[in-house]
Symmetry: C2
Subunit: 453 residues, 2 copies
């Protein structure tokens, strides 16, 4: 499909639902680019690992208790619960659990977390319907791509106005994935998008509360509700996203150029540019941590040999992650000084467990922590950091890192497998990857069995 | 409570969630004014009748199929389905069914339908918890009043921007009713309102589709989801409705004077001003129908004696309900000329069944239909009509009616009982009223048993 299909409708509104519904229905699974499928599998490994690791979080427990109490047809696995529940309920709980740690992937085309909205919906519907792994992966990838494209079309104006795009854009992508797995026609898929248009919600003012992870569950559950109702003959608008007083118009969307939304749709996958988190702490610390981890390995630094450290970072982060002497594991996640010491000590900052109160009191770490100076300068992009480490022997080592720097898919895979091992243990991580890396030749039930185990 | 409690919070935003949560928790059931409870009971009869009558509509079937397929804990009755389902699911289906005929009550303080959002939520939670009728009625009335007050505070700007307040304002009132029935504290009720703030949605651009009635189900289900999660310890914002980038700020709300929202809260009930529909056709025809029905009875008019009829109405209705020669039952609902003939023939225009294709072909009706002249003039308010009926004997009878005219509660009760009889049959209507009219001394299970029967 190309941009020429994005004609204005007779009412003068752009046609968005049409191209997205055609993309959902007409794209052949075998025609999906191998590079996009490979990234989707990496995101699937990542979302499975963070979901399993987040199952004990308070928000996960609360939403899981809701669906466990309601019970119902045993259609889909709920992470952390021994019984299956209806797909719509499983998606609500698993979406919230997936985002509970805020450690999942991010897409900056639309500033949102695509995987935690779309995968829980696709996985629940695929499990219910006994879909093949290939069908599941194709539906999820198409839903993820729809989320990114619709999200970018809604634009930063929508985000800046106060809407959490993980929830809003995510609802549309989840609906697309569910609709494809249910075998809906193009017309019925448009009704599913129309239902999502009147069901989608989620506010950024909930950040800092359980509302944020809950939004991922809302998106996933909304998508299944919309596709299920559409399959049952529910008549909504077929242009509910883009019509006059539709979702975009009422939700402060920029509603950009539809040609841009449609350009290369079905051929190029913007989702491939998704970014992963490799450290279980504030995103603002990640560039410095990458530089320090790299330097330690390259120069063979040892924590007791460190004399002084200087970090060069963008000033925006000073109010975010510069707690000088953290006392708790949570505070440690927002401390340039302590996380730097942790990296130089060779600690696995991708693991949740290292962000413990005891870490804050470790004498060797505290000694180095107090020798870290943070020098903010807006010459650094917000995604970058420059580090200088001086040893007691007086030698200076320098390094820098930009999160925007290209990373090969092999390196991504290696890092994500290490992250999964840190989150769920080496054995379970290996078993997950054995199925996910080969998902196109497996049944979805093999994956859900591993998630339930 | 009075307006002085509506202080600005430390952040400069008005305090809305606080007064509403205190109203929800602190109001004693016995202290609720008898006049408000009486109106709430009339609305309950009305919503029960329109729900039972709407159970066969396509939207009711679709949403019911969703919850029937999911099944689950048998907590609450679903109208039109033999098995109970979880309360949240029952509220979704029953809310959509209640609004399917668009024949339920309307409140013009906020332009929305309060009863179809709040009663299905309150009834499902009350049934699940085995609440007394008195507890149920109190919670519903407090939820209905919260909907009207929050709706009026959000204002017509919110409505005009494209939000369907039945869905949005209704979600908050449904949350209040559910929270009270669950015995939540003031603090927990605030979290329920915060969850509703990020869950509420519903667009006017869905009017003319199944999306409109679905919105009532969304509001009811959102309210139960929010209160249930709050009861489970979910932490949201306690000011999610009114905070910076909260629901009001992001949803084009006027967010009027909080003192007005709070004035008399707990003492005077704006809900008492709710308006009922007494004719199963377009609201634009109702004033003329009231005038003609009254004239026919008073003057003893007979259809075969009618020579000519003139209707004076506001011009806005000409594009809405002036189909001159309707051919179908649906078209008949939008025809001044045919509905006038039907009223003069003594037909029960409160019944759904009279709006049939055959009615459009009845020779006696068609003869009078063709002698009705519609004279639009903006001297008439949109809620009013003036009618002149000339008999073959040359005598002229005149009457007028304004829907805004005060109507005694006794007349309302009589009309609503007749409407219920027309919708569900005299026997069932009598049994419903026997329980509802005495609900404060009954168990909620007696009512739900009658609804399920």
């Amino acid at each position: 499909m190309d941009g020429t299909q994005s004609a204005r409708s007779s009412k003068g509104t752009p046609d968005i639902s049409g191209p997205i519904a055609r993309f959902a229905v007409a794209t052949r699974a075998e025609a999906l680019p191998a590079s996009a499928r490979r990234i989707a599998k990496l995101s699937l490994l990542d979302v499975c690992a963070v979901t399993l690791a987040g199952a004990g979080e308070p928000v996960s427990r609360a939403v899981r208790a809701l669906v466990a109490e309601e019970a119902g047809m045993p259609e889909a696995t709920v992470i952390g619960h021994p019984k299956k529940v209806p797909a719509r309920a499983a998606a609500l709980a698993n979406g919230a659990t997936a985002h509970a740690l805020d450690y999942d992937d991010t897409h900056f085309d639309y500033t949102g977390h695509p995987s935690v909205a779309v995968f829980p919906a696709a996985l629940a519907v695929a499990e219910k319907r006994g879909a093949s792994g290939a069908e599941f992966l194709a539906a999820a990838l198409i839903g993820l791509e729809s989320t990114c494209r619709i999200g970018a079309w809604l634009g930063t104006r929508h985000y800046d106005h106060g809407f959490h795009q993980t929830a809003t854009s995510g609802s549309f992508g989840a609906a697309v994935a569910a609709a494809r797995l249910m075998g809906l026609s193009e017309e019925r898929t448009r009704h599913a998008l129309g239902i999502a248009a009147t069901r989608a919600s989620g506010l950024k003012s909930q950040f800092g509360t359980m509302g944020k992870p809950y939004h991922a569950g809302l998106a996933a559950a909304n998508g299944i509700e919309a596709a299920t109702l559409a399959a049952l003959g529910f008549v909504s608008r077929t242009d509910g996203l883009e019509c006059e007083q539709g979702f975009a118009a009422t939700h402060a969307a920029a509603a950009g150029d539809p040609a841009k939304l449609c350009a290369g749709l079905g051929e190029t996958f913007r989702f491939e540019h998704v970014q992963y988190k490799f450290h279980a702490c504030c995103h603002g610390t990640h560039a410095a941590l990458e530089a320090l981890h790299g330097l330690r390995q390259k120069a063979g630094l040892k924590i007791d040999d460190i004399d002084a450290v200087t970090l060069g970072v963008h000033p925006r982060w000073l109010r975010v992650c510069n707690i000088e002497a953290p006392a708790t594991g949570l505070e440690a996640k927002f401390s340039y000084r302590l996380t730097s010491a942790m990296a130089l000590a060779g600690m696995q900052t991708g693991a949740l467990s290292v962000f413990a109160d005891a870490t804050c009191r470790d004498p060797a770490l505290v000694r180095v922590r107090d020798r870290v100076a943070v020098a903010a300068d807006d010459k650094y992009p917000p995604t970058a950091a420059a580090v200088t480490v001086r040893t007691r022997a007086g030698k200076e080592h320098v390094a820098s890192y930009d999160l925007e720097a290209p990373m090969s898919v092999e390196v991504k895979e290696q890092k994500l497998r290490e992250k999964a091992e840190a989150l769920v243990g080496p054995d379970r991580a290996r078993r997950l990857w054995a199925v996910i890396g080969d998902i196109e030749r497996r049944k979805v039930g093999e994956l859900t069995a591993l998630m339930a185990a």
